[in-house]
Each structure stands twice: as C-alpha cells, then as structure tokens.
Amino acid sequence: MTPGALALLVRRELSRSGGALATAGFGILAGTFALAFFVALGLGARAVLLGDVFPLDRVELEPEARPEPGLLALLTGRGKAPPGIAPEAVERLSRHPGVAAAYPKLKFAFPSGAFGGKEIIGRDVGTHEMLADGVAPALVAPDIKGPTPFEDPLARGGAACSVDSDCASSEYCELPSDAARGQCSAPVPVIVSPYLVEIFNKGIAPAHGLPQLGMTLVTRAQGVTFRLQLGVSMMGAAKRGKSRDVKARLVGVSRSALDLGATLPLPVVERWNREYFGPEAATRPSSLLLRTKTAADVASVVQAGAAEGLVARDSRARDVSVLVTSTIALLSLVAGTMLVVGATNIAHTFRMLVSERRREIGLYRALGATPGDIRAWVLALAVAVGVAGGLAGVGLARVAAWLVDLLAATHLPDFPFKPASFFLFPAWLVVGAAAFGVGFAVTGALFAVRRAVKIDPMEALGSG
C-alpha cells in the first residue's frame, strides 16, 4: 500500500467515525495537556528559583559554627582558632577538579553604617547597622553594566591629602586611622543583590512612600553615591581605629552581592579589616564561593569542603531543586494516570471500530490487502488520533499557561522575583508531550491492531 493510499484510508475513516475517535482522543488530549502544563510550570518555577533566587552551579563554604568557647578557654586565650578560612584551605579547594573558579569573600570585621540615595529617591535613607563584605572583582565583573569598574579605587593611585577638601569634589580623602597622610580616592564601588532591590521595591518603598528603583536606574551612568560610616554603628565601636566616613557609589546589581547588605571590592575590605580589626581579618576569608563546572559537581565540592572543616552556607538551592523535581514527578504521575485512562479509552473505541469493520477488513484482504496493510491502517488511525490529541493538549497547555500568566500579571500583587511567566515550554517539552500522547494512543490501539490483523477474510466475508 502506498502512503497516499494509507492517507486516503485514514482520511475516509476520520470523516466516517470522527465523533467516536474524537471522544476516544479526548483522554489523550487531557493527559497530554496535564503533562505539558505541569512540566512547563515546574520548569518555569525551577528557572526562576534556581536562576534568580538560588543559583545551583555554585556553593558558598564557610567555617562550621563552633559552640561558644567555655569560660576557661576565654580566660586562657587558648582553643580559639582565628576566624575565617585558612589560606591553604582556599588554595586546596580552588584546585578541586569540580571547581571552575574560587572567589574568597571577606565580611566587614568592624561595625559600619550607610546613608544616601537622595539622587534617585529624593531623600537620604540609610542604616546605622550595615552588613557588608568584599568579593573578588573578577566574580562581579560580568554583572557590571555601567561605566564605573568594580575595583579598589586606590589601585589607580591618588593625590596625597589629609582632609576631603584636599581632593576633587567627587572624591574623598582615604585616610586610615593610624596614618598621618591619606590618598585621594574615587568613591568606593558598591554592589547590591537583586534580592535587596526587590525587597526595597516590593516591600520598603511602598511602605515608606518611596519610588521604586528600576534596575536601569541603579546601574545607570555614575550611579548613586552615598556615605559609608566605618568603625562605628548602633552596636558600638570597632576594636581599634577611629570612626570615619568614606564616599561610596552604587555601581551595579549582582547575584554575588550580599543578600541584605553592601558588597565591596575585596582589596578595600582587606585594607579596612586590617585597619579596624587586625591583620588576621585581612588574610582569612570569611567564606569561599566556588563556581562548579557542573551542578553535579556541587556534591563532591561540598564534601571536599567538609574535609577542611567548612560547610555549605546555604542548602536552599538543593532543597528547592529536589522539591521542584519531586513536584514535577508527582504531577507527571497524575498526567500519566490520565494518559493511561486515555489509552484505555482508545483501546475500547478501537476494539469497537475493528469489530464493526470486520467485513470491510475481510473485503480489503480479498481485494489484495496484506495483513501488514491492515496493521498500517489501524495504527495510522491511532497515530492520527494521538497526534491530534497530543498537539491539541500541548496547544491548550500553552493557552492555559498564557491565561495563568495574564491573570497573575493583572490580579496577583507584586512579590519579589515575580516572573513575567511562570511557565517554560522548551521545544523538547512540546515534542515530548505530543509524542507521549501518540505513544499512549498507539499503545491503546495495539490490541485492536492485533485483532484486525488476525481477521480471517473468508470468515469475515461470511457465506455471502
């Protein structure tokens, strides 16, 4: 039988028993719909959660929290290892085969505050208690969209000074506590996390009647300058050094920034930690961010960290990944059950169809059809029903996803990381879900196909 003849036979059958076949195909449609919808939702959720909120191909290690030292240890001054990660451990971990890059982070070892924002939000806001850290400029470089680089401003040198007025108006005098003379410095570049921007926009700004910060506004040329207060905060003064103010400038938004705080170039934090705490606070990173070669390497990297007495700072990424994956699996199981029901429908309808077409099949055989031709006919019919049901199911899933996104956009309040779409329909999902529909339709029809092939033409045509 030629493909043309097969197509003609299938077309004739579709126009003759279209109603029954559409009913039979509905289960396939519903199952494919559910499969495509749920998986797309899962993929969308995973993309938002793991892409923006909890990245998965990186892990941040920090020293294991130790129990409070006893009074005796405090008195004798023994048993108190210096804080942070030993440089040798950093060295070993950055050579781990699963690690693509290692970026030490250093927390401020002294109290600080920050005030500013007049340029973009109309009045100064700030905190007397700022969390801040320093990261290697290389980690952040790709995220800096504006013209101001994220690096130690003193690296380019500066004129000698003793007060800010010795310097250009945009600069300040970087004068360490114990130094007689300082150096003029451009404002220290600062980055913040998209999380902080979201929190500000969706939480703080509405509550205090402040305008929202557009990402472009934050990252635009020259950025926003503000004042950092070093060495003193609400909680008290630093162990050493004098409190002083420095100029800082917001130069970008990066996932590598501290969630709720400010992040500065590592060399700057090293200098200031030395100034306000001591040399050991400059050489031992408080945590180590490791970008792994693949997400699968995270586990072995974490294990290597454990050998150095380090633990992952945040297992949320993995928790979320496992949660999303198991939710997708569960919902796919529901969709699979629907598909099985759909296949049962198909099986029933095709069984009826074949017994109704018994004589016709016998006639075709007498007129020259091989059993293979009969098999091709019934299978092609099942494929047609499966393709129609599968494509309609995937199509409906996309329509439903679009509707959900539309409703979410218009009816749900803004929340941090609210995505433009909750769904992701990669090509493989579209093709795969439709293929599942076809597969279940064909599987359902297989029994009927066997029966059709086995029909004895002589018997089917009867004594007539």
């Binding site: 075709y364 020259g368 033409p457 004594s463 007539g464």
Partner: protein, 226 residues
C-alpha cells in the same frame, strides 16, 4: 491450448481438530479452464465456499496441490498471495459487500488502494462501470441502487484490475429472476469476450444451466456430473 486457470489435485480441507474435526473438502481434483464459466453446485454445507476460498488464495490451510496458471499456491507467502489476489483474481459475493460510506466510483476503485495500478483510478472506475451497464451512477451511494445494480457495481469492482479469474459466491442469491439473468449474462460475456476463467458457486439451476461446465460437491467430495 494455454495453461489452465487452475489445477487441483486431491485437495482436502479440514476444520477443527480431534473430535471436532470436520472435513469440508475431501480429495477434490479438478481443472478449471480460462474463457469458461464453471458452475460449482451442491447442497448447503457441501464445501462450495471452502473451495472458492482456496481458489482465491484466501485459505492456505488445505492439503493437496493447487496451482494457479501453473504456480503452486503453497509456494507463495502471505504477501505474494495478497499480490496475486490484487492482480489476478476478482471476487463477487452474494451480499455484494459494498461500502456504504463510499460513492459507487470509490467502491469500484477500492482495489487501487492495495495495488499499483497504471492510470487514474476514477477513470478506470468509469470504464468498468460502463462495461457492467451502469454509466452515470458513479456519484451515487450504493444504497440508492437496486440489488441488481449493486451486484453490477460489485462486478465492476471485481473487474477493476482486469483479473484473469473471477470467483463468484452465489452472485445471484439475493436477486430476482430478471436481475439474476442480467448478472449471469454479464459473467458469461466476461468469460467469452475477455477469456477470463469465471467460477460461479450457485444453487440456482438457471445459473448453472448457462455455465460451460458444472462441478457438483456433496459432503466435500466431487460428484461427477455430466
């Protein structure tokens, strides 16, 4: 003389096994010539349809030897038998077996679905419909036709691929006398003019009297007739 259409040697067919076994054909030996109408007669259950199915290469479960134009049917596999049916054999049935959802023309050209035929199936269908005396009815549905006309459509379908053999099982069984006579005349003409071997299973003495030769079966065995 050319090769006979069929040669049968000691052909037997048993249905069922053990106690339920029933011999439907019993050592039938027979030659069927091209260009002749051969009538197969006999009481109900005597094995006529069984014989026709074997001749039509629809039933390969016999013992003995059946050759069609010198080719041993037992040497052919399922596909080859299907091709043989498509190219060399036309079937006509008592209850016509027309497909109600198709027009007359599409019914006639159903064989084109399973065999490569040269030319346009629709025009070939018109050709054979004219030949059986039904020009101009090709767009009708079968249920718009009388019994005699339906059987003509069925014969047109059987003639579609110009087969050398026509196998007819009680072709007039559902028809009135006048229609029967027309159908028989059509079949006789196909044998005479086109040299086809026409085999007609029939109860009807009117039909067998028009045949060139009559073969009688009783309990699956040949009864030598005149």
């Amino acid at each position: 003389m050319s090769v006979p259409a069929y040669e049968l040697q000691a052909v037997s067919r048993t249905f069922g096994v053990g106690d339920a076994a029933r011999r439907a054909l019993d050592a039938v030996s027979l030659t069927i010539e091209a260009g002749e109408v051969t009538a197969i007669t006999g009481p109900s259950g005597s094995g006529k349809s069984t014989l026709l199915a074997i001749l039509g290469a629809l039933d390969a479960g016999y013992v003995g030897r059946v050759s069609l134009q010198g080719v041993d049917l037992a040497s052919l596999d399922e596909r080859a038998r299907a091709r043989l049916r498509a190219q060399k054999i036309g079937f006509v049935f008592q209850s016509f077996h027309l497909l109600a959802h198709l027009s007359v023309r599409d019914n006639v050209s159903v064989p084109a679905l399973f065999a490569r035929s040269a030319g346009d199936p629709a025009s070939r269908a018109e050709e054979v419909l004219a030949r059986v005396g039904l020009p101009g009815r090709s767009r009708d549905r079968p249920d718009a036709l009388s019994g005699g006309q339906r059987q003509r459509v069925a014969i047109a379908r059987a003639l579609f691929a110009s087969p050398e053999i026509l196998l007819c099982d009680e072709p007039t069984g559902n028809l009135d006398r006048a229609s029967s006579a027309e159908i028989v005349a059509l079949l006789v003409r196909e044998a005479r003019e086109r040299g086809r071997a026409v085999v007609v299973v029939t109860h009807d003495p009117e039909v067998s009297s028009r045949a060139d030769r009559e073969v009688s079966l009783r309990d699956g065995a040949l009864v030598e007739a005149a």
